[in-house]
Symmetry: C2
Subunit: 378 residues, 2 copies
Amino acid sequence: MNPAIAATAGSLIRALHARRKATTIDLGLGEPTLMPNVAYFERATAWVAEHGCRYSPNIGFEDLRTAIARHYDYPGLNDPGNVCITTGSQEAVYLAIKTLLDPAQDEVLLVEPAFPVYAKIAQVEGLTVRRVVLEPKDGCALDADKILEALGPCTRMLILCSPCNPTGRVISKTGAKKIADALLAHSGPPVYLMHDEIYRELIYTDDVGEFGKIYPYTIAINSLSKSNSLTGLRLGWLFAPLDVMPQIVKMHGWSSSCASTFAQRIALDIFTSNDLSATRPWYAKQRELAMAAARDSGLEYIEPEGAFYLCVRVGDPDTLGFVESLIDERDVIAIPADNFASSMTGWLRTSFVAKIDDVREGYRRIAEHATSRALLHR
Amino acid sequence: MNPAIAATAGSLIRALHARRKATTIDLGLGEPTLMPNVAYFERATAWVAEHGCRYSPNIGFEDLRTAIARHYDYPGLNDPGNVCITTGSQEAVYLAIKTLLDPAQDEVLLVEPAFPVYAKIAQVEGLTVRRVVLEPKDGCALDADKILEALGPCTRMLILCSPCNPTGRVISKTGAKKIADALLAHSGPPVYLMHDEIYRELIYTDDVGEFGKIYPYTIAINSLSKSNSLTGLRLGWLFAPLDVMPQIVKMHGWSSSCASTFAQRIALDIFTSNDLSATRPWYAKQRELAMAAARDSGLEYIEPEGAFYLCVRVGDPDTLGFVESLIDERDVIAIPADNFASSMTGWLRTSFVAKIDDVREGYRRIAEHATSRALLHR
């Protein structure tokens, strides 16, 4: 048995999700409840009837990679050869961390709160992890100065999710520029900036930093999961500089051969139709309603500038205990936010993808539970 | 950059395939040319219209895992918890090697000729590789005694592909029993037997050893790619003992999250319809015709008992040089079989999935090329 795998914890989010019952108010798992556009499946099926469903090149079909490269038009990353199609953004994250870093010498810097899987992959691959932990008292703002202070001499990758899972905070144009400039001025080999931009279609502010636009060593990662309600399609991609792409594609060949041909046809159709942001108005409205519901329940929250999460404060120092009893006693699933950063003790990550009445009722029960737990433990 | 990835060669098969032109007779890549049954795609699309396309559990949907466990009914491996659904068999191979072995102490034993990816994954993961090399003079028979002699004290996984890619040889019932008995009698921790059985639906003999039926530490790996002409769907699975499955599923969560929901619906439909072997008669006929064509061209070959490959002898000690010039001068793609084992110098792997007239013409050109190269280098 591989001891690094045995020593690394599995997904708490998935474990909590597995406790869902038919009656549960589920504010846990991070996936859309909106229905995808089935016309894409029908057209891809018609394509299969004509062409079959054969392997794609390891790197992905060229027409799709061309469409993606053109759509984002990141300077220096806008060639089809800068794009590798992956089995969801999860595989893209795995490939980037696994391929671009040398466990013997390289460190990865995580900006927390962060999706726990970055740290877990780094741990499994034997990499040293540095952390910069943002504080809820600062609204977990993606503070460029604080992030740059945390860089070490061996840091070869900085991982930043913006809009952030779980806080929904977005890096500003100025903040992104400050980070890009500092990394460019950094001596030694390049520091890759993995920008997990899986929530980029769901942004509710105009001041949005995009590393792909300003930093040539950006590894931009995305998928159709959140924007097009296609979590189960497993279609993602990563942008990377041309010189490292052959190594990434090689590793991709070993870990999964290539992405699904069927899913790639759907992706090509979506990019050709420029249909990536149709759901944004719905999420913008949900966000307003969710914040209002949190206020109505008296819950303190971090105002999200993107994504579909609202971190709410329950105060309980035993965050996991709170969540477990919330499931057992109130039939509500939420995620302990200290799963994403040590600074988030007493906070929960909630998704506002459920029907708004359920979100409201969920917050009401969370607030009630917080009050009763506080009384109990006083 | 990860030095283990940089030091490991990419896929020669894919590189040769990339040189395919419209006129090329392609006996290279190992994938069916038959069309898949599009009704499965239509029904899965109707399911998506009703249910959306959301994440599956990391391990895969329970109804599918139940159907697969029942279909094969491997004693001790017949619980839905013994099955993990993967992104094609490629991910299954990766997960098994990566998760079940400890690079600090475990060795993997390959039975060669073998698909090169097993050795490459082991190399990337820092594992020591032992090899037992079967000889074309013995028809590359999967000789149990020879395989068992090669086991070392640190061997913790034996990887065997039967029917074999590239030779098409199949392990006999007696041979499999001999190996299983010896491994069971082996002292120390269990030796996992990875049985890559991706060609199991394409078998042309009655004497077929199946490790899942007789050895409890079998890791059986398979997919819909070859049996149902669905290489581009990326839907595979692995069987593993219950005690190691949580670790495999954890690693699967990090490398790709979960298999495609759409592909899993197709797989469930195929298993429920018991539609895994409809193409076998076609391949059986192709095999007869391909062997006859090789004989007509005067090419020596290894008689395949399964799969859709025919290894033919061209004699040239520079096998790759032969293949490169075969592409350039005769517009035929075949794979140098020394890519699969050092014993296969002067042999080519050909696929007999193309139209039989193309296979015939391909063999004619290969034989002609062998004659002219022999004259040239005399």
